[in-house]
């Protein structure tokens, strides 16, 4: 456990990280030249449609796949040169169940602790703590097959936490859970992050999840990183949408000219309605409406929409995340 001391370097650094798959004699670029730095203690979501390359990236960072080219360092160790040192430092909750279906949860937690070098007693104590913390007392001594989906997922997370990893990876943690269990899981991830200070990296194709959970959202599409910022800033940059209605096209045209004066605004008129998109427009809208009013351009209706991450995705890629999720790509099959 010598690797467990916290040094000050970043938790994850990738440079030109690339992975190709050969699918039916064709080369698919699942991840293309990813440059990413994640500092110790960050909570980051990889957001993108199915087959975007999120899971392939995660599998390279967790040593399950070797990069085709480029480098990745996790907790100070190179994933290709020293995979065992990386494995000692990380926790991994995959898309499947970490605990064997024929096993009992408690046995698996102890075995996982032993695999990470805990003494027998320490592994047993740690398993008991996690079982209590994750509310698994009633089911920890039952066969894993008899657990519900939500219980299994909590057990999977407990497995990833046995050794208090410096970096915790969660691959699509809430896929297959009902909304209630998904909310519980998000709450759990938030608490873990606050209380352990671990770096947490998760993949998701749920916008709401990335929005609710992560301080930093890395948007990935077609194997490329297309945005990397906080959800709030990504949305602010896109700007709010203010829809104004007037009682004539002429008034609408005049209003559109005036609204174009707002800093950073893009304005479209369609019939009697004017759409203004500008950063922070929800704060400027009252003044704009008052200004139009004094110029005799009476606003008859107003609607202000804050952008969603889906709008961000649409803006970046030209298609909505929901549409993109429905397309099946060869990368999805290979990853």
């Amino acid at each position: 456990m010598t690797t467990h001391h916290i040094d000050q370097g970043p938790a994850i650094v990738t440079r030109g990280l690339t992975r190709h798959f050969t699918v039916r004699k064709e080369i698919v670029e699942a991840v293309r030249s990813l440059d990413l730095t994640i500092d110790q203690g960050e909570l980051v979501a990889f957001l993108g449609p199915n087959g975007a390359g999120k899971s392939t990236t995660l599998r390279m960072l967790t040593t399950l796949l070797t990069p085709t080219s480029g480098t990745a360092t996790v907790a100070g160790h190179d994933v290709a040169a020293d995979p065992r040192a990386v494995r000692r430092a990380i926790g991994y909750v995959g898309q499947g169940n970490g605990a064997g279906h024929q096993q009992r949860g408690r046995d698996e937690l102890i075995s996982q602790g032993r695999a990470h070098g805990l003494s027998r007693q320490h592994a047993r104590d740690r398993a008991a703590e996690l079982i209590a913390d994750l509310d698994l007392e009633a089911v920890a001594d039952r066969k894993v097959t008899s657990l519900s989906g939500g219980q299994r997922r909590r057990l999977d997370i407990a497995m990833g936490l046995v050794h208090l990893p410096r970096v915790l990876f969660l691959d699509e943690p809430s896929t297959g859970l009902d909304p209630q269990n998904r909310a519980n899981l998000q709450e759990l991830v938030r608490r873990l992050h606050q209380q352990t200070g671990s770096t947490i990296v998760l993949t998701t194709h749920y916008l709401e999840e990335a929005d609710a959970l992560a301080e930093r959202v890395v948007v990935i599409d077609h194997g490329r990183m297309i945005a990397d910022d906080s959800a709030t800033r990504l949305k602010d940059r896109l700007g709010d949408r203010v829809q104004l209605r007037f009682d004539s096209e002429q008034r609408a045209t005049h209003a559109a000219e005036r609204a174009a004066g707002l800093p950073g605004a893009s304005v479209h008129r369609a019939g009697t309605s004017v759409e203004v998109r500008a950063p922070g427009a929800h704060e400027q809208a009252p003044a704009l409406i008052a200004d139009l009013q004094t110029s005799g351009l009476t606003v008859t209706g107003v609607e202000i929409t804050r952008p969603t991450l889906d709008d961000v995705f649409l803006d970046l890629t030209g298609r909505s995340l929901r549409e993109a999720n429905q397309q099946t790509t060869p990368e999805g099959a290979a990853a």
Binding site: T62, G96, Q103
Partner: protein
């Protein structure tokens, strides 16, 4: 949730240095044994066929001049049980590859070779339990128990089952995503290997080509040695040939299996 943080400091400073191959192998083996420990009756699963043969086939055998038919038949059935159990075992790995627990172990610090060797070594435990069950069943009948020979025989079968188990795991790794392939290959290979080893019927009167194939089968030598040992006889040439057969299968199996696991 307070314990999540409370232990943070202790876990990060305490405990032993990175574990070695033996500790890893022990960890994998004991994990594999947990379900058997919790449900010992599951050991009967791989024994259904051998017990059917013992009950329905053995009575058909004519008495041999050298002794009872059971005395000849039982060592073969013990070897058959060993072959069945060890060759099925890859299916457990297949299940764990599908469910995700194999992937979880691949991301743990356990070495790749320990993941294979630990699993293969686990096969020794059901082998011993199954042998004991068979001996308990047949000893009241016309079967003489020679415990010393049986123990040496089980040691030989342990080598053989480690090898067959490793091959079964290698097959499961190759058949990832195509589980039908695992069963097709396993079922296709198992009966020729059984019949060519002379487990069900002696090959004394067999045509030359069949005897030739039988001579190539390592299990033939293992079964011959089992018959020797279970009868309390100690013909060292036969026993040495049996150990050589078992060791050959073990070495080849572990080599193939570890290569497969390293690539996983």
């Amino acid at each position: 949730m307070t314990t999540l943080t409370a232990t943070a400091s202790t876990t990060q400073v305490a405990d032993v240095p990175p574990s070695g191959f033996l500790a890893d192998t022990w960890n994998v083996m004991t994990r594999e044994l947990k379900p058997l420990w919790r449900e010992p009756a599951s050991v009967l699963f791989a024994m259904v066929q051998p017990l059917v043969f013992l009950g329905l086939f053995a009575p058909l055998l004519p008495s041999t001049p050298g002794g009872s038919a059971l005395q000849w038949f039982v060592p073969g059935i013990v070897a058959m049980t060993c072959l069945m159990g060890a060759s099925f075992t890859g299916a457990n790995l297949s299940d764990e590859m599908i469910s995700g627990s194999h992937e979880r172990m691949l991301v743990s610090p356990l070495s790749r070779s320990s993941l294979l060797v630990g699993r293969a070594c686990k096969e020794i435990v059901p082998l011993m339990m199954q042998t004991a069950i068979i001996l308990v069943v047949v000893t009241p009948f016309s079967f003489d128990l020679h415990l010393g020979g049986v123990l040496v025989g089980v040691a030989m079968l342990a080598l053989f089952s480690i090898g067959v188990g490793s091959l079964s795991f290698a097959l499961a790794l190759v058949a990832e995503g195509q589980e039908w392939l695992f069963w097709t290959v396993q079922q296709t290979l198992i009966f020729p290997v059984l019949l060519l080893a002379g487990i069900l019927l002696p090959l004394d009167g067999a045509p030359g080509w069949l005897r030739f194939l039988s001579d190539l089968n390592p299990l033939t030598y293992v079964v011959d040695a089992q018959r020797e040992l279970f009868s309390g006889m100690w013909n060292l040439d036969v026993i040495a040939a049996g150990f050589a057969g078992g060791a050959l299968v073990a070495a080849f199996g572990v080599w193939v299996g570890v290569r497969g696991m390293r690539r996983a």
